[in-house]
């Protein structure tokens, strides 16, 4: 007979598995603090339990070549691939690399835009974390300048 401890452990594992499918929001893991504190793309993916990053032409990172001000840099992450679980936006040289994490459902296109703060010129990444744990990414360089005096 299963002990209470075993049952609890099983249901925790089950909840974790269900949560990681992204299909059961009520089991969603709490805020991914570890991932948001990671300093590199590799560490972010490790914290999320995803595979090692692989560059892919099927993932698209959109953004300006030069951002006049690093406080507001428009970035878009998208892909036409199927089987995407999460989309991540990263700024490599920020104190913490990950800017945002989007959970993908069947009801939304895999295309998300937001604006990020960049501390300095840096590579920015769009990462598609697939349902099987694969992590595919695209990157581009965004130069940041303080420009002039605010006209």
């Amino acid at each position: 007979m299963q002990t209470r401890r075993e049952t609890l452990k099983q249901s925790a594992v089950l909840a974790g598995l269900l949560a990681s499918t992204g299909l059961f929001p009520q089991y969603a893991l709490a805020y991914n603090k570890g991932a948001f504190e990671a300093k590199s793309l590799a560490d972010v993916l490790k914290a999320l339990g995803a595979g090692a990053p692989v560059e892919s032409k099927d993932v698209v990172i959109g953004g300006p070549d030069i951002a006049e001000n690093g406080a507001v840099v428009p970035l878009t992450a998208s892909t036409a691939l199927a089987g995407v679980k999460q989309v991540l936006i990263l700024v490599e040289k920020n104190p913490s690399a990950m800017v945002a994490l989007f959970d993908v459902t069947d009801s939304v296109e895999v295309n998300f835009s937001t604006r990020a703060k960049m501390g300095q010129s840096s590579d920015v990444y769009a990462v598609a974390v697939m349902v099987d744990g694969q992590a595919l990414y695209a990157k581009k360089e965004v130069k940041v300048t303080l420009g002039g005096c605010g006209g």
């Binding site: 945002a100 989007f102 835009s113 604006r115």
Partner: protein, 103 residues
């Protein structure tokens, strides 16, 4: 209570592009005030979008998202008249929900 969001949802074919502007300081926790003290981190951590009451997108944000955040995403199977609701929750536990009708 936090200032309201501006949500615009525009239908094109069987999809709706949703653009949201949120009013939030998004304090990174890295900034120092005039006295040299670190201003504590205060930023939106969780975002959820619902289409006619059904959750269609959840997101987690870090402090690197810009102040007065902008968000854009596209909902499939949405048409004019449908309701889009967006909720954010920050690291202090404050929350705000606003709704818009797809035009």
């Amino acid at each position: 209570m936090a200032d309201p969001m501006r949500i615009r949802a525009q239908a094109a074919g069987d999809k709706a592009t949703v653009r949201v502007l949120m009013s939030h300081e998004m304090e990174s926790g890295q900034r120092k005030d005039a006295a040299g003290k670190l201003v504590p981190a205060w930023f939106i951590q969780d975002v959820e979008a619902k289409h006619n009451g059904k959750s269609v997108m959840t997101a987690e944000w870090g402090p690197a998202v810009s102040k007065n955040p902008f968000l854009q995403f596209t909902v499939k199977g949405a048409k004019a008249g449908d309701k889009i609701a967006v909720t954010w929750k920050d690291n202090k536990g404050e929350t705000r929900t606003d709704e818009a009708t797809v035009s």
